[in-house]
């Protein structure tokens, strides 16, 4: 695993270890809640599982965003989106920032960044409102957090399924 702390060029320190711990705690708590619901309902139909998995996914993302804190753009945007989604499930829409050609024919060198930048914007929460350079920074941080998230969830799944 990577070093526990990474520092981007801009000085954003990614402390994965503490991030991991915080995330694990929050996620486990929310997981417990969801499990309680499952037990009470006691239905294991596919739909229920589907819903539950979505809830778990949202819990994972929100706990990760909270663990990170408000210092990153993507965490704030993620929390905002999740909150809105809860109340308005279908009102959250994404606007296309730049029309991207379906066939990626690079018109010029700059278009490389533009095209992929738009793609990244869709992937990274809150990416729409950031300039390209910030987007790259946020992507780096987001990737490390996703990594820790996956690892924690994997470990939990391993433990639970033993």
């Amino acid at each position: 695993m990577r070093t526990s702390t990474t520092t981007t060029s801009s000085g954003i320190t990614l402390s994965t270890k503490s991030c991991r711990i915080k995330f694990a705690r929050r996620f486990l708590r929310s997981l417990a809640e969801i499990k309680k619901q499952k037990r009470s309902s006691a239905s294991s139909s596919e739909e229920e599982i589907c819903k539950r998995s979505k809830r778990i996914k949202m819990a994972a993302y929100s706990s990760m965003a909270r663990a990170v804190g408000p210092r990153m753009n993507w965490s704030r945007a993620l929390l905002f989106k999740l909150r809105n989604r809860v109340s308005y499930p279908r009102l959250v829409k994404k606007k296309k920032r730049v029309t991207v050609r379906s066939n990626k024919v690079p018109r010029s060198k700059s278009s490389v960044h533009i095209d992929r930048g738009n793609k990244l914007r869709k992937l990274v929460p809150g990416g729409k409102s950031m300039d390209y350079i910030c987007l790259l920074e946020e992507t780096a941080h987001y990737i490390t957090c996703l990594n820790t998230q996956v690892k924690v969830m994997q470990a939990i799944a391993d433990n639970l399924s033993k």
């Binding site: 695993m1 990474t6 981007t8 060029s9 991991r20 711990i21 694990a24 705690r25 486990l28 417990a32 969801i34 499990k35 499952k38 037990r39 294991s44 596919e46 599982i49 589907c50 539950r52 998995s53 979505k54 809830r55 778990i56 996914k57 994972a60 993302y61 690079p106 490389v112 960044h113 992929r116 930048g117 793609k119 990244l120 992937l123 990274v124 390209y132 350079i133 790259l136 920074e137 992507t139 780096a140 987001y142 990737i143 490390t144 996703l146 990594n147 998230q149 996956v150 690892k151 924690v152 969830m153 994997q154 470990a155 939990i156 799944a157 391993d158 433990n159 639970l160 399924s161 033993k162």
Partner: protein, 548 residues
Amino acid sequence: MDMSEKDKFELENRNEEPMNYSPSMTYGFGGSNLTNASMDLVPTGNSMADSKEDLIGSSSQPSASMVESFSPALWDHPTNAQNMGFCDINGQTSASTSNTMGIRKGIPASLRSGIDRPLDMCWNPPNSMLKGGIFLPNGPAGMLPQSLSQFPADSGFIERAARFSCFNGGNFSDMMNPFVVPESMSLYSKGGGMMQWAVAGQGTKAMSSNELNQVGDASNEVSLPIDHGATDGSPLKNEKKSESLVKSHDEAKNAMDGSGNESDEADFSGGAEEPSMMEDTGVGPSSKGSKKRKRSGQANELDQTKIAAHQSVESTKDDTEMVQKGASTTNKTTGRLVKQGSQTSDPPKEEYIHVRARRGQATNSHSLAERVRREKISERMKFLQDLVPGCSKVTGKAVMLDEIINYVQSLQRQVEFLSMKLATVNPRLDLNIESLLEKDILQSRVGPSSSMGFSPDMHIAYPPLHPSQSGLIQAGLPGMGSSSDLLRRAMGSQMAPMTGGFKEPSQLSNVWEDELQNVFQMSYGTGTPSNSQDVDGSGTPGHMKVEL
């Protein structure tokens, strides 16, 4: 680095600047004007030599080197600065040279780095050490202390400083003595010895750079060349000598640039000068002068230190650029400097990133800004390259970006899949598991198997992972059996969104599961049971690939 400190220093320096440097200093570097300069320098040379000696004696420490670099600067000024009334520093050579780097008594306690503290201590005594009109003005002394305080606790810097101190094989006293040292002093005589250090430059670029910086040329900015390893100073420096004094700093810097690493130190020394220069240029105490410099491995740290130390406006238009942000005290845009081809693109303003055009490149502000942007982007791309596995071999931004996008997508899919898995897992144990899990998670996490997770979407884009994973892949066959239900359900539920219904997820999932099992059996044999859930279907990507 401490920007606030720098600011403080800047202010201090500003106050003192008018005294320190007079634009009238004209050191003929061309080699033909030695006499004048030498004459001026001679009287101070002795005292300087002495003090330098003392300083140098203690040069074992990096701080010492810095002091050394600075002290000459101060001494140089006396030629002009005799009238400045610096007489603060009395030529009391402190015996204890080991730590007597402190040029300035009043060095702010803000020096925080490890180097700074010893420097702080060291600096004080040297004040008294300086003799003969070389005065580190305590009051006006902003220059040195400022730069000193801003020395970064950079190990690279320390090395350079040490190297610097070891300049000339430790026979520093000779160098110091203007009369004795032929090479080094020649420059010294020419231009206050800045150049000569550079010329002498035997690898102690810092020295030269310091010298250069210290030459009180207000208009000159201290260039922070970060050409590490370019230690070919002398020819380059010789060239520089020919330029006018106005450009002398530039030249010195160029020379220093050639020398590379030491340039960092030069920066600091330059910083000392700069306050005075800043005054001359009339630049307000705004922090400026973030010079744009090339980023080297140590650039970041150095940059910061340079920003702190770097108060002079001028920077030679070297090929190296350093990017410095923040409250640099350097007064960058002294219009009066006429440098070859480099013009500061931004007017001196606070909190601007000042960029200096590289030699031989367009000085259009747009192109400069673009270059800054491009450098930033490439920097971040490098960082991302480290994060994304398997991207070290990839060259080119387009492919890199594609890889990054794919990686983010795959991670998100993994999260989704794992959430499904967790949803289907029966909570056999109670949630006291939390504590157990936490322990587990915190400890065992590093397992590569866990990192892979089970991703139904086999990302072929990450083949490098697969070979490494194969050994670890816990084929999970033992676990597979028990979790077949889970797997089926997970696959089914995951397939459901794709198929838009539950028509055939079970069938599909069964098929998948069988295939998976086969695959794993074939590829991995019996993996360790611990990571039963880790199934990396890299063996047969074709089977595993799920188009989401």
